[in-house]
């Protein structure tokens, strides 16, 4: 028999680690602030591709001249996939200040101006997103509502299914673990300056499901071990035993999922797919956090809650 790992005994260390990460995240959040993507706050981004060298100052002037009443900023990134032997390919995204959508005419004139001013650079239109502010905000609210409804229903399900190990306490602690994971993903967005967009919501929902699955697998084992050990058994022992028993599964599943999403990430980096990268990276963080929070946060908290309750009784 393998040695039983003591999760509950080290719980103070785990709480400490999590709380300090959350504290660092909060500080970053206060200093940098979170950026909402234009999907949520409204605004316009137009992307073009071009080849060869270009003078950024001249580029800025040209774009600004085409749209005198708006302030624009732009970022240029190298497009590795479409590089040819003699010329480098680039992608440029032009962002308009303010959070309103732009007139379709304006986009036409910018495209035409760019193509006229830099005929050698082969400017080609790639992508536009233009969202009205009020619509973006309503979409954000809707996403948050979806997350809230999903969380409540999941906790309800856990509460009902795990009545034997304290139902509500199990559900609430699972929820704490979920908040922990969402916080981790959120701080990751803040620290890396990634704008909060609908991908963020999709990642959060995926990690909610994934992390809760981890928690449930452990609860399931606790339910079983507790039945075997009897009512009077020490909860900390029962949990440590259960957590140790499911460790191989947790590791194997995490490895396979991380490998799969890691593959997606690497391929996305090679192909320079920003949207897929922005999807895969937080997912990997979420998987690690989901795994950790189930074993080291939800479990010990559940033990603490129920031990206290039985002492009082």
């Amino acid at each position: 028999m393998k040695k039983t790992m003591n999760f509950v005994g080290k719980s103070k260390i785990f709480y400490g680690i999590s709380l300090s990460i959350i504290a660092i995240g909060l500080i970053c959040n206060i200093i940098f602030g979170a950026t909402l993507d234009i999907q949520f706050r409204g605004g316009t981004v137009i992307s073009y591709s071009f080849v060869g060298e270009i003078d950024e100052e001249a580029l800025r002037d040209t774009i600004q001249k085409a749209t005198p009443e708006n302030t624009v900023s732009f970022t240029v990134t190298k497009d590795i996939m479409n590089n040819t032997e003699d010329e480098d390919a680039y992608a440029i995204s032009v962002e308009f200040s303010g959070n309103e959508s732009i007139e379709t005419d304006l986009q036409k004139s910018i495209t035409a101006t760019l193509q006229d001013a830099f005929p050698d650079n082969n400017f080609e239109y790639q992508e536009t997103t233009s969202v009205e502010a009020s619509m973006g905000f309503s979409f954000l609210l809707k996403c948050l509502t979806a997350v809230a409804i999903a969380s409540v229903l999941m906790v309800l399900y856990v509460t009902l299914r795990f009545k034997r190990i304290g139902g509500l306490s199990a559900g609430v602690m699972a929820l704490v673990a979920l908040f922990h994971d969402v916080a981790m993903i959120y701080f990751m967005y803040v620290i890396f300056h990634m704008p909060i967009d609908s991908n963020f919501i999709a990642v959060v929902l995926m990690i909610l499901g994934y992390s809760l699955n981890d928690t449930i697998v452990i609860y399931d084992r606790v339910r079983e071990e507790r039945r075997l050990a009897g009512r009077d058994a020490d909860l900390a022992d029962v949990f440590n035993k259960s957590a140790t028993a499911v460790m191989p599964r947790t590791i194997a599943t995490s490895i396979t999922t991380l490998v799969a999403i890691g593959t997606v990430y690497v391929v996305a980096v090679i192909y320079n797919l920003g949207s897929v990268q922005a999807f895969a990276l937080p997912m990997m963080i979420g998987i690690v956090s989901g795994c950790y929070s189930s074993l080291c946060i939800a479990g010990p908290l559940w033990v603490a809650w129920n031990t206290r309750k039985s002492k009082k009784a």
Partner: protein, 462 residues
């Protein structure tokens, strides 16, 4: 243990592989020279505009004309009549039917079009046409939003009356013979023009056009002076409503403007599709290697079940049979698929680990498999059920018409809906393949003589 007969493993595995082949490659046959699709394969998946490029736009009524305060910008008689200047659902439907008519006339058939009555928005999403060369979303969107020109033309094609003469059109049922018809009401100015027209072209056809698309060409059967005409022509209820909407579209008291739009060029999309394809294949091979090396026979069975799960999920996306329309697959849709496959792998890992554990506590081969599969079931079911809950919520919240419609209006971003759909289908597939059939195969394969060794199932060496 209730052992399952040995041949069952081979039959189930073969069926899964056959099914997988049909779901991946499709089944096509030729009827004369025309290729018919009996079963759809991967190549028949309808890719979302984020993958193959396309345009998404939201239209709203222009407030300049419909604005309720200082309503002087328009001399339309419907406003002068003191009618409600609020935009009605019927008007939104009419505007929608303009866009629809234009889209069809341009040969775009696989568009998605929603109207959102709450916020008075019309949302449209369509891919680039096959022969499109200048991928310019701005032009495409402007074309759709342009004010519709409704015209009534005489038999020689000259315009005799336009949409400004129309007060309203509505679908009705003839009380006597139960036929559907369209009731056309003209306003005061229209009444006179129409009287002249019906007098001059009695017993001839007057064609009704939207832009350059012919809507209907009814024959004038009477000289109509009261400004109220019936258009009959063996309509179904649907056709009558459509025609009425189209006619109303030519007489809308507002113009449409674009409130938000996005366009993605097809090269960008194609790249991501190839990339995700490679990523999928590499990830699958890595997972298969991991499973077989670590869990041997249960791992091998799991890989077959996984192929089945992927195939079943793909079939749910293509809708498998040729007659159904394929689901629109987007990047988040692929992500949902990945998550559900991850859950499938997890189900098999939980079972295999449990069997290993039972070996460690000294069980025989049969009872280890029996116990292992039984004890691992509740964890798998509970885990998957929560994911099912998440995905159903996503479907309900982000569907085209959804439970939160009354608060937020209809969906503008269907991409998260795709995530929920593939996740739900993938999880259901997981219950069928990863939970049920993989257990059937496992309990069957254990009966084969050369397989009856503990180490093949993850137990300690002989």
């Amino acid at each position: 243990m209730k052992r399952i007969p040995k041949p069952v493993f081979f039959i189930v595995a073969l069926l899964i592989l056959l099914f997988a082949c049909s779901a991946f490659f499709g089944v096509k046959y030729y009827e004369g020279d025309v290729q018919q699709t009996a079963i759809k394969g991967l190549s028949d998946i309808r890719w979302g505009i984020d993958i193959r490029g396309g345009v998404e736009a939201t239209f709203k009524p222009d407030e300049m004309i419909s604005g309720s305060d200082g309503d002087t910008a328009t001399s339309d008689s419907e406003n002068a009549d003191g009618e409600n200047t609020e935009i009605t659902n019927e008007q939104i439907d009419s505007a929608k039917s303009i866009i629809e008519t234009r889209m069809v006339s341009q040969g775009i058939t696989d568009y998605e079009l929603y109207s959102d009555y709450g916020s008075k928005r019309i949302i449209v999403r369509f891919p680039w046409k096959e022969d499109e060369t200048d991928f310019d979303p701005v032009n495409a969107v402007d074309e759709l939003a342009a004010t519709a020109h409704l015209s009534f033309r005489n038999p020689s094609g000259e315009e005799v009356m336009d949409g400004s003469a129309v007060k309203s059109a509505a679908a009705r049922v003839n009380q006597e013979n139960g036929e559907y018809l369209v009731l056309l009401e003209l306003n005061n100015e229209g009444k006179e023009i129409f009287s002249n027209v019906t007098e001059e072209y009695l017993n001839q056809a007057i064609s009704i056009y939207m832009d350059d698309t012919l809507l209907s060409a009814p024959t004038v059967q009477a000289h109509i002076t009261d400004g109220s005409a019936q258009i009959t022509g063996n309509f179904t209820a649907e056709e009558a409503t459509k025609l009425a909407n189209q006619i109303n579209g030519g007489a809308l008291p507002f113009t449409l403007t674009v409130s938000s739009y996005s366009g993605i060029s097809p090269t960008l999309g194609q790249n991501s599709l190839t990339a995700m394809g490679y990523a999928g294949i590499i990830a699958f091979i890595l997972i298969a290697l991991f499973m077989i090396i670590r869990y041997r026979v249960p791992g091998f069975v799991a890989v077959i079940a996984l192929i089945g799960q992927v195939a079943l999920s793909i079939a749910a996306v293509t809708r498998y049979f040729g007659v159904f329309n394929s689901f629109t697959m987007t990047l988040p849709g692929i992500a949902g698929l990945i998550l559900s496959i991850g859950m499938g792998v997890d189900a098999n890992i939980i079972t295999a680990e449990r069997i290993k554990e039972e070996f460690r506590s000294g069980k025989t081969l049969d009872s280890a498999i029996e116990k292992g599969t039984k004890n691992s079931l509740s964890a798998i079911v509970d885990g998957n059920m929560t994911v099912v809950i998440v995905s159903i919520i996503l479907l309900l919240v982000f569907g085209p018409s959804n439970i939160l419609s009354f608060i937020f209006g209809e969906s503008t971003t269907g991409t998260i809906y795709a995530f929920g759909y593939t996740l739900l289908m993938g999880t259901i597939s997981n219950f069928i393949m990863g939970v049920w059939l993989s257990r059937v195969m496992l309990k069957s394969i254990v009966g084969i003589k050369c397989m009856r060794k503990k180490w093949l199932f993850g137990g300690a060496g002989e």
